[in-house]
């Protein structure tokens, strides 16, 4: 049987679990700076070009954005269940809850892709040299809005894709993972998943809701 700790530095699994979640918190601190920098850029630009940004924001799809918010918060609920079941050693239930989390993540990505496709077809995506067709006031700064929108949401989607892949990996290895490691892994990915959810909770009002 494998040693209960992954790192030779630890002599007890409990210490290692604590170290794991601490490391995840430090990583989240780092991620906050990443999204924080881009959010700050967005806020700064919005203060400078308020009218253009407010006008451009109306072209985003509120129903799809709202649906995605619901989907993602539900996925966080499923993740919380997975954590609870793991702590209670109900492994089968925990596995299903993890699968539900990943599935809801995929649903979010699918809705996001629909949204992107709609924006491309309407000429709102100034990406890869595609023409930017916009009839509202101040199209130059509206284009800036869409540039930032695509940068922020695609960065968030990238984080979500990483989360889905990691959950897939955890599930694939689930039967062969010792119990102490199962709890460590769920705890770490759980923190990450909730963080990515919270980033969306900031992005949604900032992009979709202000001055609606």
């Amino acid at each position: 049987m494998k040693s209960p700790t992954t790192s030779i530095a630890f002599d007890r699994p409990a210490r290692e679990t604590a170290a794991d979640s601490f490391a995840m918190w430090v990583l989240i601190g780092s991620e906050v700076m990443l999204f924080g920098a881009i959010l700050l850029v967005f806020m700064f630009a919005r203060l400078s070009y308020g009218d253009a940004f407010a006008g451009a924001a109306k072209h985003l799809s509120l129903p799809l954005g709202t649906a995605n918010t619901v989907v993602l918060i539900t996925s966080s609920f499923a993740m919380a269940l997975a954590h609870m079941y793991t702590a209670a050693r109900r492994w089968r239930a925990a596995g299903w809850a993890l699968a539900a989390t990943a599935l809801l993540g995929v649903v979010f990505l699918a809705i996001k892709a629909t949204e992107y496709a709609r924006e491309f077809s309407e000429g709102l995506a100034p990406v890869l040299g595609a023409p930017f067709i916009y009839k509202g006031p101040d199209p130059v700064h509206a284009e800036f809005f869409f540039g930032l929108y695509f940068a922020m949401t695609s960065l968030h989607a990238l984080h979500l894709i990483c989360g889905v892949i990691v959950i897939g990996g955890i599930l694939a290895l689930w039967p062969r993972t010792i119990e102490a490691s199962r709890f460590r892994r769920v705890q770490a990915i759980g923190l990450y998943w909730h963080f990515v959810d919270i980033v969306w909770v900031f992005l949604f009002p900032v992009l979709y809701l202000i001055n609606r």
């Binding site: 170290a19 430090v26 990443l34 920098a37 940068a151």
Partner: protein, 545 residues
């Protein structure tokens, strides 16, 4: 080289490439980093020497202006991101952090190895941009030059730097968690060696500042590759935004580079003056203060970029503030020497040179933080000289001090003390000859980044170029005698310098699991002069030559 060492040593745990490339032993990962970083140091140094040769005459006779632009860009990119940022943390820090806190390894040994692979993957992109024809934006990648006009391989180089950022963050997370969770029994925070404090402060900055650099580089690549307008005014963007984002990372980054150097010097000075570090708590907390203040001063790079005059005043004031904790350290180091029983072994020589050069470069920083003076010397050789006094005179000198101080622990071998002292002196002379004239040049109005100049600047440029040759010799010498010592050096005892610190309580080189018996700490750091080890030392020069 491992065959004749004690079988318990980490070097004896296998010698094939697999045993190195798949190792999770922090001591071996440190060596992986050490070998790659040394290669980058000499590559970046070669670009610098080519520049100085070009500048030996006022005319542009060795290289064209375009090639010169590529030389200084690659020199900066390689030295900053592929040498200075990882240098002390990834080599000495990686090797020593677990030893100094009495742990068997870092908290995440596999993450540590992964960070090296990520580093090498990123460096492939940087090297590719060198081979394909280089970058001409300077190491700062300023927009709109980098997004609209640059014809070099900006995306490749920026992507390489972006990837290396992940490796930096991995190291930072690993160090922070290790310091929090793996200290030996009795090793309270205020008993930690200052080197550990500075690694901790550096890791915090790594974790919190690197993502902002990542964000700005992502946005550059998005703009260059996908045409999303963030910095290009034609697409609604704002070019100044890049400078804000870039310096929000890159100013704290200079503290990433210098803080571990300060830590090394805080280890070496007490050891060779047989005195406890003066004002231990003040030095420890000053490291944290530097890490925090470092985030609030980025605007002093933009005094003439068109930011508001009020912002300029605030950033100027905050930049003066960040000098306070640095000054606290300099005064405490100086007072550590007072009434000390000082001896001048190679690490001590480097540490004293650090003290002189860092102080000198730091004072020039105050000139640059003053708004009016900065307008005069902005983008001149004065800035170049200031930066190199801190980064080369400070950081690289401290790196050399640490390398010599811990070389017996790293390798189990003693280097030649005579050659060590000669190389330290040559480096000191060469450094000052290279960079002091650049202060004068900058003050006289010579702008940076030009490959030709009016003949009246020739005198100072020739001095500087001559100094660069001396400096290059000073850096090549350790390469030779340290390599020689690997094979022919005398066996090192466990504690050749009679130093305090847990890393000296295990054998040289340490066993694979660091300690045969896990240590317990009952005394403060820098408990000099060590009782029971007070017999007169024999002269190391006599011993070794």
């Amino acid at each position: 080289m491992s065959s004749d060492l004690a079988s318990a040593s980490y070097l004896a745990e296998g010698a094939g490439p697999r045993s190195w490339l798949l190792t999770t032993d922090h001591k071996r990962v440190a060596w992986l980093y050490f070998v790659s970083l040394t290669a980058f140091f000499f590559l970046g140094g070669t670009f610098a020497v080519l520049m100085r040769i070009e500048l030996a005459t006022p005319a542009g006779d060795l290289v064209s202006d375009d090639v010169y632009n590529r030389l200084f860009s690659l020199h900066g990119i390689i030295m900053v991101w592929f040498f200075l940022v990882p240098s002390i943390p990834a080599t000495l820090g990686n090797f020593l952090l677990p030893l100094m806190i009495g742990a068997r390894d870092l908290a995440f040994p596999r993450l540590n190895l992964a960070s090296w692979y990520v580093f090498m993957f990123g460096s492939l992109f940087a090297l590719a941009s060198v081979v394909l024809g280089g970058v001409d934006t300077g190491w700062t990648f300023y927009t709109p030059l980098s997004t609209l006009y640059a014809n070099g391989f900006v995306s490749t180089a920026a992507f390489g730097v972006f990837i290396v950022g992940f490796s930096t963050i991995m190291t930072g997370i690993n160090f922070i968690v290790t310091v929090h969770t793996l200290r030996a029994p009795g090793l309270t925070w205020f008993r930690l060696p200052i080197f550990v404090w500075t690694l901790y402060a550096t890791s915090l900055v790594m974790v919190l500042a690197t993502p902002v650099l990542a964000a700005s580089l992502i946005l550059i690549v998005l703009e260059r590759v996908f045409g999303i307008g963030i910095f290009n005014p034609d697409l609604g963007g704002d070019p100044l935004l890049f400078q804000h984002l870039f310096w929000f990372y890159s100013h704290p980054a200079v503290y990433i580079m210098i803080l571990p150097g300060m830590g090394v010097v805080s280890e070496v000075l007490p050891c060779f003056s047989r005195r406890p570090l003066f004002g231990y708590k003040a030095v420890a907390l000053a490291s944290m203060a530097i890490a925090v203040f470092g985030f609030l001063v980025w605007g002093h790079h933009m005094f003439v970029s068109g930011q508001s005059a009020y912002a300029g005043v605030v950033f100027s004031f905050l930049s003066f503030c960040v000098a306070i904790p640095s000054a606290i350290k300099v005064f405490n180091w100086s007072l550590t020497l007072r009434k000390g029983e000082i001896s001048f072994e190679t690490p001590m020589l480097y540490a004293l040179f650090f003290l002189a050069l860092f102080t000198f470069g730091g004072l020039a920083g105050l000139f640059l933080a003053a708004l009016a003076i900065d307008v005069h010397v902005h983008d001149t050789y004065f800035v170049v000289a200031h930066f190199h006094y801190i980064m080369v005179g400070g950081m690289v000198t401290a790196y050399m001090a640490g390398l010599h101080f811990w070389w017996p622990k790293l390798t189990g071998r003693m280097y030649s003390e005579v050659w060590g002292r000669i190389a330290a002196a040559v480096t000191f002379i060469g450094f000052n000859l290279t960079f002091f004239p650049q202060y004068v040049l900058g003050f006289l109005g010579m702008p940076r980044r030009y490959h030709t100049y009016p003949p009246e600047f020739a005198f100072w440029h020739i001095l500087s170029s001559a100094g660069a040759v001396v400096l290059a010799i000073g850096y090549l010498m350790p390469l030779l005698y340290l390599a020689w010592s690997l094979f022919r050096g005398a066996q090192a005892p466990a504690n050749p310098w009679r130093a305090t610190g847990l890393e000296w309580q295990t054998s040289s080189p340490p066993p694979a699991h660091n300690f045969d018996r896990m240590p317990t700490v009952t005394r403060p750091a820098y408990d000099y002069p060590m009782k029971g080890l007070t017999e007169k030392r024999s002269d190391p020069v006599e011993d070794l030559v």
